[in-house]
Symmetry: C2
Subunit: 257 residues, 2 copies
DNA sequence: CGAACTTTTGATATCACTCAAGGGACGTGG
DNA sequence: CCACGTCCCTTGAGTGATATCAAAAGTTCG
């Protein structure tokens, strides 16, 4: 077993690095879906500036809540999830910087799922009035946001395929490839590695596996020389190999662009 | 084994019965999300009238296609699906009368999944121009369609929970409950039963199980007195029991309304 | 009445789960 | 600076749910 954990966590440096790149995360993400005007970018920058910090493992919205607006994650990682009566949690999406929850919140009388931070985050909240204006009078930025939502939907379908029909090792391989591409797209990957502030329990609730089996599967991925994972920092050592194993095709993330 | 299959399929009578109720399926569905004007209803009726028949097991769109418009299912059942390199199919959604695929097609450069009929269907196609007009200048009907899309998303999340963390018997129980509610909502259920023109192979590709295990699980559901299933006609004998088993909560289908 | 598909059954294999316990790492308070 | 509690990760052993393989029986349709 290659454990070799460093003494300290990487969170502080993670946060420090993000402090500079993040005003861009949201903009970078949306610009992939079409050119934004200077006005649009200013507006997005204002949103970023108004963001506030939230501790790890904090609920932003709970299932059944009447939504107050649209959350945008500017730093850190969060997730959508559903809870089963027995207490089991299924994570249905990861939210990384630049991601937001659902342009159509204003139409939603109540949440059918919860949203919770996985790591410490910086989060902004767009109020319902702003969203209504955006959706009732669509402009360039609305279009970009709608395309981002299409990607989210496609990602959810990929996750269903993953969990519905792939083996444990394939599920994790696929997930790690997906996250690499998403972190790259917002400038938060260096080469083939990125910070993954997520516990093995979180991975288990994501992939529909038990924690024990996630642990063993991660070891197998390391043993095969496909990844390294220490201190919540993931390095992909053999990206083509990992992609082949997880049947990862990046198309769905960029909508073919 | 309680097989007791009737000599003929029920498709003909199914189609005949639908011929009357279907002009309403789309309208009934959208009216649950807000009052439509007479003009809106007329427009929907025109769409219904322009629908054409499609044979069972026919692809409407394939992954990678550039979408030509928005499909609406007016009779029969269809599905969204993804294919894995090995040929395995994961069904990611069932489309029943009144369902349609994605108001934002116009933004989608290519399909990330396929759509195929499961039974014989009547299908209408809205062209891209119409959709652009609809989305760029939202009106009552656009709002209703957006809400329908929110329900589709919520359903997809439920499916992920189903496949990601429930047992075989729970997955099928949950699915059958969901379909009952959806068929009821468009007037295609009689009491606690409905036509389910779907093979056990289709159910397997939906639930992430093998056909063999689907078969055995269906037998177990019958043995427990929860359902009857003959000639593609499903009768739920103990709805509360089936709901409890599948942890089915109808909320996500109606957005809490 | 034969071909293709679907459902059913039996036997065997395996992937992933559960239970149980030990070992790190980190934070806190004494 | 140490003692303690809490997470999180790791490991072992045993079990169980579901898959796979193979084949027969029923169904549909031309």
């Amino acid at each position: 077993m290659i454990t070799d954990q460093r003494p300290g966590r990487t969170f502080p440096s993670f946060a420090a690095r993000e402090a500079h790149s993040v005003p861009n995360a949201l903009i970078r993400k949306l610009e992939r879906f079409g050119t934004l005007g200077a006005e649009d970018r200013d507006w997005l920058r204002q949103i970023s500036d108004a963001a506030y910090p939230v501790a790890a493992r904090t609920d932003l919205v709970r299932e059944g809540d009447v939504p107050e607006g649209l959350f945008m994650i500017l730093e850190g990682m969060a997730c959508r999830f559903k809870l089963r009566p027995c207490g089991a949690r299924q994570i249905t999406a990861y939210l990384i910087p630049g991601d937001f929850c659902d342009l159509d919140v204003a139409l939603r009388p109540q949440m059918d799922h919860g949203i919770s931070t996985l790591s410490a985050c910086r989060v902004a909240l767009l109020d319902l009035g702003t969203i209504r204006r955006l959706t009732e009078n669509p402009k360039a930025i609305t279009r970009a946001m709608r395309m981002a939502t299409l990607v989210d939907d496609a990602t959810l379908r990929e996750w269903l395929v993953n969990v519905g029909s792939r083996s444990a090792i394939q599920r994790i391989a696929h997930l790690f490839c997906e996250l690499l591409m998403r972190f790259r797209a917002i400038g938060l990957a260096r080469g083939d590695s990125y910070e993954l502030p997520v516990s093995q329990l979180d991975l288990a609730d994501t992939t529909g596996l038990s924690t024990v089996h996630v642990n063993r599967t991660l070891q197998e991925l390391k043993r095969q020389g496909l990844i390294e994972l220490r201190s919540r920092s993931l390095m992909i050592r053999d990206l083509p190999g990992l992609q082949a194993l997880g049947e990862f095709e990046a198309g769905y993330l960029s909508l073919g662009a």
